[in-house]
């Protein structure tokens, strides 16, 4: 007679102590909504660092559906670290696939999972899904009751983030759960050394006097 699968034991992720990206290589997002700005009076205390190219993918994904007014969605692929007792995440990449989307709802197309998995297989690091992103075209950045239920059911660890983008209003904001309640999360866009900054002055070659 067949028995149920037997769990022999489990192991949690070991979170490493790591310095967050250097402050001089971080900037607040260009599309922060007005009501989020007080949180960004200085750059300390960020809980999520979004890599410049991952940010660009999220923004461009949302913008790609502006004409149709459709929502988009995907996963935030990253790592969890601690620094001086505070947990933070670094989002290095995002992954998505074909979607079943309307102007008010979104989910993965069941036929699109294998394409999503191909993207996950291509990740060059041992990722954790540190959150998810989706768009609210024209409706602003907040967590709806559907979003809260997704967050509570799937992304309920303190480090999990829901990144919401409104490509019409040009807004992008981040949220998380604390003791079951939704709150805004402070996040910064970061870039690698020798990469052009997220915005501001780019590196230009110096003229050499002969």
């Amino acid at each position: 007679m067949k028995g149920a699968p037997v769990i022999l034991g489990g192991k949690d992720l070991e979170v490493e102590e790591m310095l967050p990206p250097a402050l001089e290589r971080t900037l607040p997002h260009k599309w922060l909504p007005k009501e989020a700005l007080p949180l960004y009076a200085d750059r300390s205390g960020a809980e999520m660092y979004l890599f410049k190219t991952a940010e660009e993918k999220v923004r461009n994904h949302a913008l790609s559906q502006v004409k149709e007014g459709l929502e988009v969605m995907g996963f935030l692929l990253g790592e969890v670290f601690t620094h001086q007792g505070a947990e933070y995440t670094v989002v290095r990449d995002v992954a998505t696939t074909n979607l079943e989307a309307t102007s008010v709802s979104v989910r993965f197309d069941p036929e699109g999972f294998e394409s999503l998995f191909a993207s996950l297989e291509c990740a060059r690091f041992r990722y954790v899904l540190v959150g998810w992103y989706h768009s609210h075209p024209g409706h602003g950045c907040f967590l709806s009751s559907t979003d809260v239920s997704t967050q509570k059911g799937m992304f309920d660890r303190p480090y999990h983030t829901a990144l919401v983008v409104d490509p019409f209003r040009k807004e992008m904001d981040a949220f998380c759960l604390t003791n079951g309640e939704v709150r805004r999360r402070k996040y910064l866009v970061y870039w690698d050394e020798f990469q052009n900054p997220y915005y501001g002055e780019s590196v230009r070659p110096k003229k050499i006097r002969m």
């Binding site: 769990i7 489990g10 949690d12 993965f108 297989e121 954790v128 709806s144 009751s145 559907t146 997704t150």
Partner: protein, 81 residues
């Protein structure tokens, strides 16, 4: 005959080691790990590399190697209402 596999929870990086019988189904694997991690089994799928494992597929059909890693992936839903 039993096969031992590791299932990784993509949301947290946590893993569990499981012993499966050839007759066990993918649905039973999802139910087992969901109960362990206190998740809703209906909101998750399992991948083996690039392949989506279907609920009614049996372990014997999956070509699983001993100690192979499978990954539990959430199937989220977003909306603005």
């Amino acid at each position: 005959m039993v096969v031992r596999v590791r299932v990784r929870n993509a949301e947290t990086g946590a893993t569990v080691d499981m012993e499966l019988e050839m007759e066990n189904t993918v649905e039973e694997i999802i139910e087992g790990v969901s109960a362990y991690w206190e998740k809703d089994p209906g909101a998750y799928v399992i991948r083996k590399g690039r392949r989506l494992l279907r609920g009614q597929q049996k372990v014997q059909e999956l070509e699983i190697q001993a100690n192979e890693e499978l990954e539990l992936i959430p199937d989220p839903e977003g909306g603005n209402r």
